[in-house]
């Protein structure tokens, strides 16, 4: 009898080309998706070394990282040097015959958003992209790794990577979600619970009844933040919800091939007796809407909580880290989060800019206005998401509330930290993104992470707000 295997074991084992010893393997990569930064850099490396692209048909490219998100945009971008990357990537990708979703392509968007949307990422496939949030793709049941540009070069040249096999971890989300509690709140709660290094060297399968009932958008949000607790990747087993999602998508298999793929995908879920090296249970009834107070995603607390006191830290290192975070964020220990005034609100990024995110935010924003002086920006995750939102009148709700309605891209999650368009020093920004690191959204900018609903509610009141109190 076959040894019981996890979902990750099954995908990993079926992609091993060679066992290189010491738990290290040469594995096949089914999908290589690059953007203008790592794409330009890695193809530059390929060309300089005079190498060939082994499987151009398995490579895809998109402009998402440095491009401008203002309407009417072109190659020019506020990020210094960014235009060079856009043009370099376009030229090299085109010359190598790589399918590129360029700035004006109707399928352009953030790679982690468009890849499932178009059916390029598929359950059971191995997937890489030169971005740490590639783990997002695990939400549809793929084994997805973020890689650096040398490894991107490696994949272009060999269609493989050399990696050690990750250990298996499972997080079970049990119970039921409360009112105005979403996938983002679940994953922030988890990170605060197990810490920013809690998943190190593990591939994490998200499971349990709450995940099983969750649509793909939410699964992508949860997997997106696997890297924020240093997991190698996150993944959710493909099920009926996954199959319904993919049926008919542009690059998904059709006809007999669809039936064959489905039969294979059905074999992927972890066997009941499979061994996990680490297992965590979360009771979703305990989760309130979450907001971060500090400079790490692990600095996440309930929206009705207070900024913690470093004096109560469990050890001297935690105390030091908390003191640094509090100094940067400029809040006194004991301050109720709901008293924190905000200067800006951002709804966007690979974490929370899919259609369901925009719908939920619009529900709160409908018929309301953002507080005076708040800079409020929404950048949909893809051009197709934007079009669908517009067809539902969501753009009008955002605009009438006082939000800027932008084009798609990494936008204010990437731009400020890269010396482009950012928020101002000292400003508090409530953001649906995934990183509240120092200077991430601009020099000295204080980022607070939350769900689209909490961001929308707070934009209206002008301070961090519990969405359960505002209704909509």
């Amino acid at each position: 009898m076959k040894k019981p295997a996890t979902l990750v074991d099954k995908i990993w084992d079926s992609h091993v080309i060679m066992d290189l010893g010491q738990n290290t393997y040469l594995i096949h990569i089914d999908r290589n998706f690059q953007h203008e930064l790592t794409g330009a850099t890695s193809l530059n490396g390929i060309d300089n070394a005079g190498r060939k692209i082994r499987n151009a048909e398995l490579a895809f490219g998109v402009m998402d990282h440095v491009l401008d998100t203002h309407p009417g945009r072109g190659d020019e971008t506020p990020i210094p040097g960014g235009t060079g990357f856009i043009r370099e990537f376009r030229q090299r990708a085109t010359s190598h015959g790589i399918r590129l979703f360029d700035i004006d392509d109707p399928d352009q968007g953030i790679s982690h958003v468009i890849s499932p949307e178009l059916g390029i990422a598929l359950p059971g496939c191995t997937y890489v992209c030169g971005d740490s949030h590639t783990c997002t793709i695990g939400g549809i049941g793929a084994l997805a790794f973020g890689i650096g540009s040398s490894d991107a070069e490696h994949v272009f040249a060999t269609q493989t990577i050399i990696q050690t096999k990750p250990q298996n971890m499972r997080v079970n989300f049990n119970g039921k979600l409360g009112k105005e509690v979403f996938a983002k709140d679940m994953v922030l709660y988890l990170i605060a619970y197990i810490g920013a290094a809690g998943g190190i060297e593990h591939a994490v399968e998200f499971a349990g009844p709450v995940i099983r009932d969750m649509p793909i958008d939410g699964r992508l949000t949860i997997c997106n933040m696997a890297v924020e607790f240093s997991a190698r990747t996150g993944i959710v087993a493909p099920d009926d919800i996954t199959l319904d999602y993919f049926k008919g998508r542009r690059f998904a298999p059709k006809g007999d091939m669809w039936e064959k793929a489905v039969a294979y995908w059905r074999t992927l879920p972890s066997d009941p007796e499979a061994h996990f090296d680490k297992e965590v249970d979360i009771d979703c009834n305990e989760i309130s809407p979450q907001v971060t107070w500090g400079t790490s995603p692990e600095h996440s607390i309930a929206v009705d909580g207070r900024v913690p006191n470093p004096a109560q830290a469990p050890d001297s290192h935690s105390r030091m880290t908390m003191e640094r975070a509090i100094a940067y964020i400029g809040l006194k220990p004991g301050t109720p989060l709901e008293e924190v005034k905000i200067d800006a609100a951002f709804i966007g990024s690979c974490t929370n800019a899919r259609l369901s995110d925009l719908r939920e935010a619009a529900r709160i924003l409908k018929g309301r206005k953002v507080a005076p002086g708040i800079c409020a920006i929404c950048s949909p995750g893809s051009y197709q998401t934007k079009l669908r939102a517009e067809a539902e009148g969501i753009d009008r709700i955002f605009r009438e509330a006082g939000f800027e309605w932008r084009e798609s891209g990494c936008s204010m999650c990437m731009s400020g930290g890269a010396g482009g368009e950012g928020f101002n020093t000292g400003q508090h920004v409530l953001s649906t993104t995934n990183r509240n690191f120092e200077d991430r959204q601009g020099r000295g900018v204080r980022s607070h992470l939350a769900s689209p609903v909490t961001v929308a509610a707070s934009a209206i009141t002008g301070h961090i707000t519990d969405p359960r109190k505002i209704g909509g």
């Binding site: 060679m18 040469l26 040398s150 490894d151 050399i162 298999p253 990437m414």
Partner: protein, 206 residues
């Protein structure tokens, strides 16, 4: 790639947990093509005052003798966050050849080996011990990292053995290009794809 066999030099303790790659190499330094001249941007937001190049005297790499450090000591989960390989290029360009920490984030860890930077994992207590000893000597006592023998020799000559994956060790010892190494297996890659095209045709035809 530069070979790594044995190095002896100044080690700088930067004993913080979860040092992310945004901190190692700020995003605004990203839009450059070449893998050189990144050293100036290393830890830019901590190393300089107010975003210009005025040095922050409190930051360890601005203090003699640590300005000439070739080894960095750090706490757990070093290199977390963004996958940006510039974080590795910046360390290497500054002159760092080895980072010693209790654990590393995986993308950063993988990126190191492609650039001649050795990430060494030691026990939490061992890293802190070396850091304390370095501080006690104001950085003057040197640290040795020997990849041939897989050991670190601390400031008081104490020996700390470490393990490193043999494939990566060989690559560093010989300065091998990992792509060239993988291309030696081309026939196996081709054989895999031949079978796979039958088993999972949807991956190749769409």
């Amino acid at each position: 790639m530069e070979k790594f066999t044995i190095i002896t030099g100044i080690a700088a303790p930067l004993m913080r947990r979860n040092i992310d790659t945004d901190a190692i190499m700020p995003g605004k330094e990203l839009p450059k093509f070449e893998k050189t001249s990144y050293g100036d941007g290393l830890f830019g937001q901590w190393r300089y005052i107010d975003g210009n190049r005025k040095e922050n005297p409190d930051f360890i790499l601005n203090q003699p003798p640590f300005r000439k450090a070739i080894i960095l000591l750090a706490d757990a989960n070093f290199g977390c966050g963004s996958s940006r390989e510039v974080a590795v290029w910046a360390l290497v360009d500054f002159g760092i050849r080895c980072v010693i920490a209790p654990s590393f984030a995986s993308i950063f860890f993988n990126n190191c080996f492609k650039n001649g930077l050795l990430p060494v994992i030691l026990e939490d207590s061992q890293v802190h011990e070396i850091a304390r000893q370095v501080e006690n000597s104001s950085g003057k006592e040197l640290v040795t990292v020997d990849l041939e023998k897989c050991q670190v020799i601390g400031p008081v000559k104490q020996v700390y053995p470490f393990t490193v994956n043999e494939i990566y060790r060989e690559m560093l010892l010989q300065g091998l290009d990992p792509i060239d190494a993988a291309l030696r297996y081309e026939s196996k890659i081709a054989a895999f794809q031949e079978t796979d095209r039958v088993d999972r045709p949807w991956i190749y035809q769409y």
